[in-house]
């Protein structure tokens, strides 16, 4: 690249950004194109679109984009602090390790939050034993940035009947309807529900110099070789690099943020690709490493001045982890859907988005129809095949041969309540391959979250029935053992006693440290958080640019 720039680690750049994912990639582009000198430290490699493949054994089984499995990362999991954490084979907190972060491998379902998500605590009142709270910002304040995501990142869609107000239309039409969407739409009509097109961070047509989707079917868990998925790798990183002000430094594993005598962040200490310790000096640090890694790094950056971890005078770093709960009901139909082709989801139902006190519990959610377990063969045989059929032999084989193309899942995604007891801490014993204390996740879904997942599972069963499924089965509702949605662990708020960053993502404790990613979210939304993480990043960038312009970083 003509504008490729390298900074010396001893040169004090304006911003060191930790993480290049949904938030970090946007902040890198916004700050560098505004003229600031930026170094982005990314722990994973720099994969390009041409590096992505459809190899299920490598990507799905070996965890190629996750940076391998838990023998490398050492994460541990327990349900409550009274349990002994075990070290499962797959990481409980899962995210892609590469430039672009998890925006590279996510499914690209892309919902805005609604006004109610920001003020639900005021509307519904407190929920005992939880940290249920209002956001310090409103939907109206975030709306311009949702619109910015629509147009700059690239979102396909069409407004639905319950959508939040938008200041501009979608920049491009929704992805075409699939058989799963047709079936769910038919069922919705019968049941008096409203199926609407799914918004995607996937280009339905060329946009901003990028190509449109080729419907290869490998959205969920895979990188997009066409660059049509609106990852920050595809949409933001090239602009950041073209500014001549931004160096993306892959294979850089951060181990500490150092602070000086004034209590300000002074440098970011990391291991380079060779494992050699380096330290990048910066005027300010932006932490966008995701809700698990950002919390770990702040806790790892404890010092005599900050004994409980950096930016953690509230004790809220790592707390309030929210994954969103899920349900899935599988159905098989008379004729082939071939739903493994194309994007996962083409229709969603948002009739149950808002909390309905008549249900007897807090929460809301969304429903979608998608191949899920019948998108690829190995996933199907391991997790999606008919459980009422033996798992080997002639009947097994015939069932696989019949069901794979005829199957779909109706999936529910729900709210998660913020709890002290659901958190990220440093494991006292387990280490990752770089010698860092491993992420220890403690998590037990709140009963209301499981109740909401169960409610949506019941609705999904009705939908499959109304859609004419010849057979269907439930997966059942169980407490989770990890997740990809890593939300709430450095929440934003006006009160420094109960939040980590202020409404502009500046940490309450360290004036030149900003935290912006899924950890900023105060509530979980209804299950598709990336759109909101990206909108928050655009908004944070505006505030950080303004502050830097005033010499206030």
């Amino acid at each position: 690249m003509a504008n490729e720039v390298k900074f010396d680690t001893r040169e004090e750049v304006d911003f060191a950004i930790i993480g290049s994912g949904s938030a970090g990639g946007i902040l890198a582009k916004e700050l560098s194109t505004a003229g600031f000198k930026v170094v982005v430290l990314e722990q994973g490699p720099y994969r390009k679109a041409s590096d992505f493949n459809h190899d299920e054994l490598s990507v799905f089984v070996r965890g190629e984009l996750l940076g391998g499995h838990n023998d490398v990362h050492g994460q541990t999991f327990r349900q409550t602090e009274n349990d002994i954490a075990d070290r499962p084979d797959v990481q409980p907190a899962r995210y892609a390790r590469n430039v672009g972060g998890s925006s590279v491998h996510f499914t690209a379902n892309f919902w805005r939050l609604r006004p109610v998500d920001f003020k639900e605590r005021s509307l519904l009142g407190p929920i005992a034993g939880t940290n249920f709270a209002d956001w310090p910002i409103t939907y109206e304040e975030l709306e311009p940035y949702y619109t910015k995501v629509d147009w700059e990142i690239g979102v396909s869609g069409e407004p639905g009947p319950f959508d939040a107000p938008r200041s501009k239309p979608f920049p491009m039409p929704p992805m075409p309807i699939k058989s799963s969407g047709v079936l769910m739409e038919r069922a919705a009509k019968k049941l008096g529900l409203h199926a609407q097109p799914e918004p995607h961070a996937i280009l339905s047509q060329p946009h901003n110099g990028r190509a449109g989707c080729i419907s290869c079917g490998y959205c969920m868990y895979y990188g997009c070789e066409a660059g049509a998925k609106s990852s920050t790798l595809a949409a933001m990183i090239p602009l950041a690099e073209a500014s001549g002000n931004c160096e993306i430094r892959p294979d850089s594993t951060v181990i500490r943020i150092d602070t000086n005598d004034q209590g300000r962040a002074s440098q970011v200490v990391y291991l380079d690709a060779a494992g050699t310790e380096q330290a990048q000096k910066a005027k300010a640090v932006v932490l966008s490493a995701n809700g698990a890694e950002s919390a770990r790094l702040l806790l790892m950056s404890a010092s005599p001045q900050h004994p409980d971890g950096l930016a953690n005078s509230s004790g809220f770093v790592g707390r309030n982890l929210m994954h969103n709960a899920h349900s899935a009901v599988n159905g098989v139909f008379e004729y082939p859907l071939n739903d493994y082709k194309g994007v996962q989801v083409s229709r969603i139902i948002h009739d149950f988005y808002e909390t309905d006190e008549q249900r007897g519990f807090y929460g809301g959610g969304g429903i979608d129809a998608r191949p899920l377990f019948s998108a690829t063969p190995i996933f199907h045989v391991l997790a999606g095949r008919d459980p009422n059929v033996p798992r080997w032999g002639k009947q097994f084989k015939e069932t696989m041969a019949h069901d794979f193309t005829r199957q779909m899942s109706v999936v529910g995604s729900t709210t998660s309540l913020a709890l002290d007891s659901n958190n990220i801490t440093l494991d006292p014993e387990s280490k990752d391959a770089w010698g860092r204390p491993a992420i220890r996740e403690t998590y037990m879904d709140h009963p209301d979250d499981l109740a909401m997942a169960g409610f949506l599972e019941d609705r999904a069963a009705e939908i499959l029935d109304a859609a004419g499924a010849v057979k269907s089965w439930r997966r059942g509702i169980h407490p989770t053992n990890g997740g990809e949605h890593l939300l709430g662990t450095c929440r934003m708020g006006d009160d420094p006693a109960s939040s980590v960053v202020d409404s502009k993502h500046r940490s309450h404790d360290v004036p030149n440290l900003f935290v912006c990613d899924g950890s900023s979210m105060v509530t979980s939304g209804r299950g598709q958080p990336t759109m909101t993480i990206m909108a928050l990043a655009f908004r944070a960038a505006d505030h950080i640019k303004a502050a830097a312009g005033n010499g206030d970083i």
Binding site: L57, P88, D89, S179, L372, I378, G393, M400, N481
Partner: protein
């Protein structure tokens, strides 16, 4: 690496938190999740095995052939799944090989008890093989054989099984090659046709 033995439907179903793949592999050991990318050179029947002896290979091939049997359509035999076993045991699953051999020895000891005059699992009738397998279908060895049969049958041909992509053909999965045009299936075809006529 015994955790492969925990691989079961029950465990998969308990992993409900995630709607992506990784959750379903939390009980698989690094051996099985790190199966080699080594290119297959042993797809032809006469090709030599890298680590399996001829007798081990025929046992594994016969077990795989009952898990994914040949019927009026091809099964594990035609897909060359045993070459996937051999490739995997020769490389990143090499740590699994001694446990697998131990498992196979126990399997054969049980077989000798059930059929004192047998000349090998592969020589039994299909019905006798199935009946015996039903007595062995839990535990480490069967689960390992099952998982490797699935991975061999449904992973890319370069790993040694799924010869000529017939594993994918069996289930109607038209490969991983890339771009598709709407409509994809029966139900959206009706809608896309209506839309076209309406335009």
């Amino acid at each position: 690496m015994k955790n492969i033995g925990k691989l079961s439907r029950r465990h998969f179903l308990q992993s409900t938190g995630s709607l992506t793949g990784a959750a379903y592999f939390r009980l698989l050991g690094p051996g099985i999740v790190a199966i080699t990318q080594a290119a297959c050179s042993a797809k032809e029947a006469q090709a030599a095995f890298k680590v399996l002896t001829a007798s081990e290979a025929s046992d594994f091939a016969a077990i795989a052939a009952r898990i994914m049997p040949t019927t009026d359509t091809p099964g594990a035999t035609e897909a060359g799944v045993v070459y996937f076993f051999d490739n995997a045991f020769a490389a990143e699953m090499s740590t699994e090989l001694s446990d697998a051999r131990e498992g196979l020895a126990k399997f054969n000891a049980a077989l000798d008890k059930a059929h004192p005059d047998n000349a090998g699992f592969d020589t039994l009738s299909e019905d006798a093989q199935d009946a015996f397998l039903k007595t062995q279908q839990t535990g480490y060895f069967f689960n390992l054989s099952w998982a490797m049969t699935m991975f061999g049958f449904f992973s890319m041909e370069k790993y040694g099984g799924n010869k000529d992509q017939l594993g994918w053909d069996l289930i109607g999965f038209e490969g991983s090659h890339g771009a598709w045009q709407y409509p994809f299936g029966h139900y959206d075809a009706e809608v896309h046709a209506e839309t076209k006529h309406g335009e």
